[in-house]
């Protein structure tokens, strides 16, 4: 089943075209890795999917529901965007944990607020129990009452992953989740993402970790200058890149 379908996404910042005619789709349980050099538009694409940027052209469809159509202002109403963006979860490069809340409160805050405003009928105990479960899954059982500044980068990022998962998104997006971490801490975060892939979560991962992308992704997209240069299964994109620009980029990693 197709979970996500993005068509002809285009985005300008002033006169600079950051994304040009991006189309792709994602099946349930698939992992898409987006690779490419800095400034290629990867992050902007993720931000468009999460409604942090508004594309100038194109449509975004999730599970047959048209979430966004640049040509139809009715799909861009503030009140509905809040509901629509919950289809996506986003893990930021620099974590963006809320410093005044403990790890557990970071995970449960949005759900608790949701329960209050939308009257979902969820009890605070249930939300809390689920938060504890998520943090345990992240290997942070003994860190739940710590504040972000008391955690290492890797631990912070795992809290951020738990926080995104707490909202039960259909598609979990990662924006260079290990770029702010030193190599030692990168491993523990990648391990968690890998285990999520093993649980057949639908994910989009923007990353510079080529080996990881090759391992974990079902589909790889190489972006350059705001366009998708090459797209396919990792064995092809990494093993047998067709486009010279892809080869040039990958050569830099294989050294």
């Amino acid at each position: 089943m197709t979970v996500l379908e993005a068509k002809h996404i285009e985005k300008h910042f002033g006169s600079v075209r950051v994304l040009e005619d991006i189309s792709f789709s994602l099946e349930e349980g698939q992992v898409l890795a987006i690779i490419g050099s800095s400034g290629s538009g990867k992050t902007t694409l993720l931000r468009c999917l999460n409604f942090l940027e508004t594309p100038d052209k194109g449509t975004i469809t999730v599970k047959d529901e048209l979430l966004f159509d640049a040509a139809d202002p009715a799909t861009q109403r503030e009140s509905e965007i809040r509901r629509k963006r919950l289809h996506f979860g986003l893990v930021f490069q620099d974590f963006n944990l809320f410093p005044q809340y403990t790890a557990l409160q970071n995970v449960t805050l949005a759900r608790e607020l949701m329960a209050k405003t939308e009257k979902t009928g969820e009890s605070l105990e249930d939300i809390r129990a689920e938060g504890i479960e998520l943090l345990t899954m992240m290997g942070l059982k003994d860190r739940m009452s710590n504040y972000p500044h008391q955690l290492s980068g890797g631990q912070k990022q795992r809290v951020a992953i738990a926080r995104a998962l707490a909202m039960k998104p259909s598609i979990l997006c990662f924006d260079e989740p290990t770029s702010a971490l030193d190599p030692e801490l990168t491993g523990e975060v990648l391990k968690v993402i890998r285990s999520l892939a093993d649980q057949d979560r639908t994910m989009i991962i923007v990353t510079h970790e080529m080996e990881f992308a090759r391992d974990v992704a079902d589909k790889v997209m190489f972006m350059d200058g705001g366009v998708v240069v090459e797209e396919g299964p990792p064995s092809e994109v990494f093993g047998n890149p067709k486009h010279p620009r892809t080869r040039q980029f990958l050569d830099k990693f294989s050294g």
Binding site: N50, G89, F92, N96, L113, Y147, P148, H149, A164
Partner: protein, 217 residues
């Protein structure tokens, strides 16, 4: 004699404390509203709020006090009740507006100092704008603004002495009155002790608040 002066000055201190707390009561929330006004995308409101801050910060508080107290009467609008209550009301209105404008700039700095990623994290988690402000931004803003706010609030303690210009019997005016009535100069300087004690208590409070907010970074 010292006892007599002290009890009289305590009466003046009560008025000073009253001006102080009433001003904070109104200026703290009003400042936040003005801060939002100066940050809104809606241009007319933004200009209006910026103009207000400009005028209020650009003219002496003493002039504003005199203006608020006398101008309505000159225009034939008798909005203040007669006697001391009217003087007190005009004082609190002038002080509240003046301090709200100064606070608004501090608030704005505090809000803009919170990294944009905090708001975005709230947004992608489906929070509303007001939830993001009250549950995420506000606390981080408060932590940032405690030092500049403590400065401003301590200045307010001493600015209350300006109210004597429209004959409000606050601490300084009370101390002054001994000069006219009894030819005594020292009560005026004695008021300094009261101000020092007041500010001392505030300083302890702000230090406590800073320590309280030390649990996060």
């Amino acid at each position: 004699m010292l006892w007599n002066v002290t009890t009289t000055l305590l009466g003046g201190l009560a008025t000073t404390v009253e001006i102080f707390f009433l001003t904070l009561l109104f200026a703290l929330p009003l400042g936040l509203i003005i801060a939002f006004g100066t940050m809104t995308k809606f241009t007319p409101i933004r200009w209006l709020c910026n103009a207000l801050v400009w005028v209020v910060r650009g003219t002496p508080l003493m002039l504003q006090l005199i203006g608020f107290f006398y101008i309505p009467g000159i225009l034939g609008l008798h909005i203040w009740p007669g006697g001391d209550p009217g003087r007190m009301m005009a004082t609190v209105v002038a002080f509240s507006l003046n301090y709200a404008c100064y606070f608004s700039v501090i608030y704005r700095g505090g809000i803009q100092g919170v990294p944009i990623g905090q708001r975005e994290a709230g947004e992608v988690l489906g929070m509303t704008k007001s939830q993001i402000f009250f549950k995420i931004t506000l606390m981080q803003m408060i932590k940032r603004i405690v030092p500049p706010m403590s400065n401003e609030i301590i200045t307010l303690v001493k600015d209350t002495s300006l109210a004597r210009i429209i004959a409000v019997y606050e601490l300084t005016f009370t101390g002054f009155s001994f000069m006219k009535s009894a030819g005594l100069v020292w009560p005026l300087f004695y008021t300094g002790v009261f101000y020092l004690l007041f500010v001392g208590i505030l300083t302890i409070f702000f230090n406590y608040l800073e320590r309280k907010l030390d649990y996060f970074r």
